[in-house]
Symmetry: D2
């Protein structure tokens, strides 16, 4: 069996998830190399994942002929140049979202992708690969809800992790860039149309530190699309019950709602509080399978010369919309795209 | 508008519910008289419900020409003779369940009903009038689940009220007579068949006082029906989450399940415990509307000369089955009917 | 028992609900008079409800000393002058929502209410009296979700009734005035704050007739409140599954969501389609109990000299916000209040 | 990394699932050999899974030094001797349930296991490894529901697969042996006690072919346990909505219910039928992850010299209880163990 030899760059929380999947759970992939500027992460790759070649220097890893594909899980501002460098070095590329931190960067990445049409490029919009989201898309494509014309998306991080969010509030780019990218991508994907205008607002009621950092705890944005459809995004960081990602797609003949109750599993407790559904605690738990499925798709695309459903342009568009949303939020005015 | 003049006997917890409905919520009924051996209950009838005629002596109330119909909410052992006496006095009769505490009594009540076919007689199997149960019956009658062949019934009283149950454990007749009568009636109603055999058992894990009184905390019984159908009843007294009545009817083409989550209302709390549905606290809350609807049906039947869907024979059958279940439970052997 | 003598004006679909409740289900009320410009409605009042005094002329009914209170269920443009006239005639007044069709009218009604502080005035925001909404409010007031800072409200009429909506599209004032008033009131009630800005949009994907009439099929609006809180309203007219009113209140310590599944009752069908919850078909079914409870509250207020929780100012505010929403929708610009 | 070299015997529907997991999804396992009496299955192993060594003769595979462990997925009557032969050949053994088709066989397997304490033996009660069941067990062990005293288990195969069940009705051993083994194991696991008596019955309402073959379409059994606890098992073969495995554990302080709605995923459809949850279609879909997790546990046990939670005695006990249930069903009498 042919195996894709993968080098990963970045082994933080999410990087470890990807690395573990590639090393242990994908039969036609092999984690041959790892790169990080954090020595402890390289140590982790060696001892926990059995990676033999580790690099402090990304460009050095790109010169390794034992690396067919690069998986980029670094901080957002590094994504675009690393994408370009990897493609120019003849590697297939998987990059975590967002594509870039500004639109100019994104266009640079687009150009690199266009220069190397024979290389697979994929962006990590893993929600599209989640079993429930994929089912919803398939239902919609089969006409189950007629023409979809409104998406209502909710994404709330757990209060249990709020300290981390506060710590990064000054540098995160604000709640919409930080948290709404997946929801923006889902709206575009489900509606099959592009945003033409956005209006947004924010609120901070629990942790004033967000506002002090120029950020907000919770954001609410609404969108008009070119085909007349509409969208709504509610993002937040303080769900006391866990991690809550919910999406509703309203169509002319029906509605699909995904995960109104962010259940941990199929068990329900009947106790003194009532009937209780415990909730997923964070994105690694909620999207564990989606992370695996998207990586399987990337590996399969790279080995068979296909391009995945998620393109570099999806990355540029969602970044553009994220910036427009942020501008709307900051100025209090509707922003046209 | 013609109004049915009603005299009630028994004004305990459930009696007050019926009395309040008749006095205040049923337009074509009037609570003209009340009878009780408890003076405080008569005082309640006078001051809270505006009843003018109150009686310590049941037979005296039966002589009152201002009473067209009698509603019997006394202790179970009084039901049958009070039914007979009322019918013989020319009154319509509504009696709470169970019909009687032995089958002989029940036959006496049957005879009285047969002697007075022009009088309406109704037994208080109010679950049949609950919106969800009535909907299930209608669905089944319309063929929505094909032929029903299995009923699984659950009825658990709240732990919050267990002290009362312990107090009456010695005299209640045991958990199946005390708690399973409604479930037995529902099985017969949904399956349209009679029980031919029952096997039963009990357990006591939380309050040894039940076992010390010769009773059990929880009971489990299974039934064969004449047409080959099957039934299961699980009754208990210690639900920490509230009052739980759940019924499932399995048919050849589908299943209907009523109240798997005994929700208090349509609100869901998302809090530190997870997603929580608070539960109904007791039968008065769960079946408030059913108590009203069954009484409206009784009043309407009496005024128009109809007989309701629940007959005296339903009372005899459910009592017979209750006794057979109790015998099965006590002897550990299957009992044939 | 003292009874409130009520005259009703308007006996259309909703008028019949109120009239039936007053005539038959509220013990301390009596429907003594009815007024309508439609003779068939007066005939209905006489024959179905036993009302003895019927009027074609509203002012004539106001002169009837046998009328203590007036219940106004006429078309929206009549509400304000009828409120004023009734109060000036010494009657208690219950008026259906909206208070008026413009803010000037509303101020006239306010002045009338202020002239007669000894008379009870109540506006028909019945959702506040729905068991689930009242429970949510009580939970919130008890601190169960901390400080509420975001309300997401959805109200969608059934596709089954869309023909009626199309017929009235030209004169309804547009989807937000027609359908969002209850949601606007709920946002204000739950958040305890006033709207300062609104942004809105609409879409029509199924029935072009709405757009041809200058209306939209679906509307989406977001609100800023004076205390920094936020709101979202999604209204529509084409739910294929029934009548869908859902409300979510997000607070610093938890969230309450009401009726994510607009269940008809507690039964679930397991059939070839999956596990199915049938939905309520319209507002009379969904809010049957709320209509009764609000009227009981009105009657009790009138008899005891109290004022209810819903004031004339709630009517003015919701109307103002409804107009601002409509302006935002029509102009595509955020509108400040 | 050390890898366990596995030989599989039997590559039918379930065999393929295990083989695929071992070959592709478990990092420290390798599928080195496959055995089947069906040549097409061996062809499948070679071409689809890359297995190099294939055997028509089981004993020949046992002589292969490249096989550390054997996974047995043959028909039930072969399990015990194959277990014995493999252990005696020095292999670790994983066997599908049931352990054997009679108790004598089971004791033979027990003796083999006892002869080779250094070899890992595991029985395929995969439900224990399902995320929701494992969570329930952990909750129960942590005291979340107090002392568990009643388990209600339901397992219904989809109507879509009924033809296969009819075909095997004559040889399946009857509905309880065929379908209740997992439920019996779960009862024992959750209650931590052994069955002392069983009473059972069956019904056939849709497909008379079952009865003609001496079998039943649906079975209902109740159990007493040595510690006073109780159990109920409802098995069937004709669920029109899919594959339904549901389990409820009732304890003194609460209840846990798993999968009352056998949801396919987290999406809900709101359409003309109401609010619909599509259901899982069969055991491979419902327990896909559990099959993987149990095999990971087996591999880890074998590599580290541990014994898993599921022992050979669990196999004997569940088989005993399965036979006793069958006897109770056939004779209509309670059967003591």
């Amino acid at each position: 069996m042919e195996k894709l030899k993968v080098g990963i760059v970045g082994l933080g929380r999410l990087g470890k998830i990807h690395a573990g999947n590639i090393a242990n759970k994908i039969r036609n992939a092999e984690l041959t190399a790892a790169c990080s500027i954090v020595p402890a992460e390289l140590e982790y790759a060696k001892t926990e994942l059995g990676v033999e070649k580790v690099y402090l220097d990304y460009r050095e890893m790109l010169r390794d002929p034992d690396v067919d594909a690069v998986v980029i899980v670094t901080t957002s501002r590094e994504h675009c140049w690393q994408i370009e460098a990897a493609l120019d070095a003849g590697k297939h590329v998987f990059s975590e979202k967002p594509l870039g931190v500004d639109v100019e960067q994104c266009h640079m990445a687009e150009a690199a992708v266009e220069r190397h049409p024979e290389k697979t490029f994929m962006l990590g919009f893993m929600r599209r690969y989640d079993r429930s989201y994929a089912y919803a898309k398939q239902k919609i494509d089969s006409g189950a809800i007629g023409t979809p014309y409104l998406v209502k998306a909710t994404g709330i991080d757990p209060e249990a992790l709020v300290e981390g969010a506060i710590r990064f509030a000054k540098t995160s780019g604000g709640i919409f860039l930080d948290m709404a990218i997946h929801d923006i991508d889902l709206m575009r994907w489900f509606l099959g149309a592009e945003v033409t205008e956005v209006y947004a607002m924010g609120a901070t009621f629990k942790h004033p530190a967000f506002r002090e950092a120029g950020d907000d705890e919770t954001g609410l944005a609404v969108y008009r699309f070119a085909n007349g459809a509409m969208g709504m995004v509610h993002v937040g960081r303080t769900a006391p019950y866990g991690y809550h990602v919910e999406t509703e797609i309203v169509g002319t003949e029906g509605t699909i709602r995904i995960s109104a109750v962010p259940e941990k599993n199929l068990a329900r407790l009947y106790n003194g509080a009532g009937v209780v559904t415990e909730c997923v605690e964070g994105f690694p738990e909620r999207f564990a399978e989606a992370y695996l499925l998207e990586m399987e798709e990337f590996v399969d695309c790279a080995l068979t010369g296909r391009q995945p459903g998620v393109s570099v342009y999806d990355g540029t568009e969602s970044t553009k919309i994220g910036y427009a949303t942020t501008e709307a939020w900051k100025t209090g005015k509707a922003v046209k795209l």
